[in-house]
């Protein structure tokens, strides 16, 4: 038997009793946290494999739903073929980013709800994994998974409808989406605390946040058509800049425009620490009121 397994000595890998210098301890702790982050991603890979057919069904549903939206472009009377193509692309980009954001919000909001449902929540929250790493690991997998699904969705629907995007700069669109993802994870961390505070209604409130964000961000229309107060709110939504930038990159081949990049950078820098602070307050509330527990 190797030492450590079944032993009741302080864990060798845990750092307690580690005799090295501060830098060594920091390195060890960082390594442990990265292993923990890998664990979150690895678990999600296992679950995706187990629920693969669900994913296929969900993908088909998303494609069908997106088609119902993109076909609207064909029904607009009195426009040229080129204008119809542009309208279809505008709608497709909106639907794709809606789907992408939906996956990130679902993963983040369900971070607590899944573990509560499975009964593992107490084990995860009593483990020596920093909350930032825990939530960021969940967000990282959501972004990877969401990007794969969004890419499939975009190209399948584009092929089905016959959208032409000869000038498209997909690299710039992907770059903007990656940058926006950091902000989406931060906002997602804020919403992920909701099921912790309200086990029964928290997940639904998360979806309300997602819906509100997309409404003000101009998902299928320009932000300028909304009332002024909504336009003002849209300035704080990362989806506004992601949608605008991705549309410009795909329709006009524009690269990553600084006017879209800097707001995304600022929101990304602010969203994660604020999200984490909100989550910690919520976690403490849950611990004080006995809500950090499995259901059923």
């Amino acid at each position: 038997m190797s030492s450590g397994v079944g032993s009741t000595e302080p864990p060798r890998s845990g750092g307690l009793g580690f005799a090295g210098a501060g830098a060594g301890r920091f390195a060890l702790e960082t390594r442990n946290q990265l292993v923990g982050l890998f664990g979150i991603v690895e678990r999600n890979v296992y679950l995706t494999k187990r629920y693969f057919l669900w994913d296929v069904a969900f993908m088909v549903w998303t494609i069908a739903n997106t088609l119902t939206i993109v076909f609207i472009a064909r029904a607009i009377p009195g426009i040229t073929a080129a204008e119809e193509n542009t309208a279809a692309t505008v709608l497709l980009v909106g639907a794709t980013i809606w789907a992408f954001l939906g996956i990130i919000f679902e993963f983040m909001t369900e971070t607590v709800a899944w573990e509560r449902w499975e009964g593992t929540i107490e084990y995860t929250f009593m483990a020596p994994l920093s909350r930032l790493v825990h939530l960021f690991g969940q967000g990282a997998y959501a972004v990877l998974y969401g990007l794969i699904r969004a890419t499939i969705l975009f190209f399948v629907v584009a092929a089905f409808i016959g959208i032409h995007a000869p000038e498209a700069n997909y690299a710039a669109a992907l770059g903007l989406l990656a940058l926006a993802s950091l902000s989406f994870i931060g906002v997602g961390i804020m919403t992920s605390v909701l099921p912790l505070i309200s086990p029964e209604k928290g997940a639904q409130l998360g979806f309300v946040c997602q819906g509100v964000m997309l409404v003000v961000s101009g998902v299928y229309y320009p932000v300028s058509v909304m009332p002024e107060w909504m336009q003002w709110i849209s300035k704080f939504s990362p989806a506004t800049y992601a949608l605008r930038g991705c549309r410009a990159s795909i329709i006009h081949g524009t690269g990553m425009v600084w006017a879209d990049v800097w707001p995304l950078l600022i929101i990304a820098v602010l969203a994660t620490p604020i999200g984490l602070a909100v989550f910690k307050v919520g976690e403490r509330h849950a611990k004080r009121h006995g809500k950090l527990k499995r259901s059923g």
């Binding site: 750092g15 664990g39 690895e42």
Partner: protein, 270 residues
Amino acid sequence: MRDLRKTFRRRDRKAGRFARKRAWPALDDVTFTMARGECVAILGQNGSGKSTLVRLLSTLLIDDGGEARIFGHDVDKDASAIRRLVNRVSVEASFFKKMSASENLSYAARFYGMGPNQTRTAIPEILGRVGFPPDRRGEAMENLSRGMQQKVALARALLTSPVLLLLDEPTTGLDPRSKLEVQEFIRQVRAEHDATILLCTHDMAEAETLADRVGILDRGRLLFLEPVADVKRRFGVETLEQAFFAATGREFVAEEGDSNDDDEYREVFG
């Protein structure tokens, strides 16, 4: 642990949905110490506060007063240090049901810094020790019996080498054979390592055979914590059931099933 208190505010279900919330004390000035390597059993009926105690020591609850320290670390102020030292087995096995035993153990081990190279050998080894059949390691947890799942839960707790092991009704709901196997494994862990074990149970026989000292937690209050022989002598009785009756004036009614604390108050105050 000194004067540890925890109170929940809950609506009395019998008083209706709009009744005012009232305070339900789950732990009421609980004080005791444990020596390293000791096994202490806390006995109590559903609703006595056992799970609250375990969840407080697991850093899953914040107390309302008093203090709890584990190897010098305060459970609230130094929670991250505590988390490296403690693991637990609860009455519910609690796993991702579609994932296999090996996958669930990998997931748990990663949080404690165990990478794939370590778990590749450590997981088969620990599963072997708890008597888990090697050919079922890849099977989804939902296909395993309750006894099997509880063995995996024990393996999960021991895989991370805890200094303090919290066992919250680890054998509740198991068939007699599985119960004996789990108890035997707990004995082995104690014999081979200087495991410090806090066993919360309503199984009097289990407490008597496994623990160095036994305490009774009743309505959040720890009535005593002594070796079994001293308890019997103190009350002049032959069994722990009789001691419980002598100490509380009530019969001990052990109820099988989930002893989740939020449900506990109904038995305590119902």
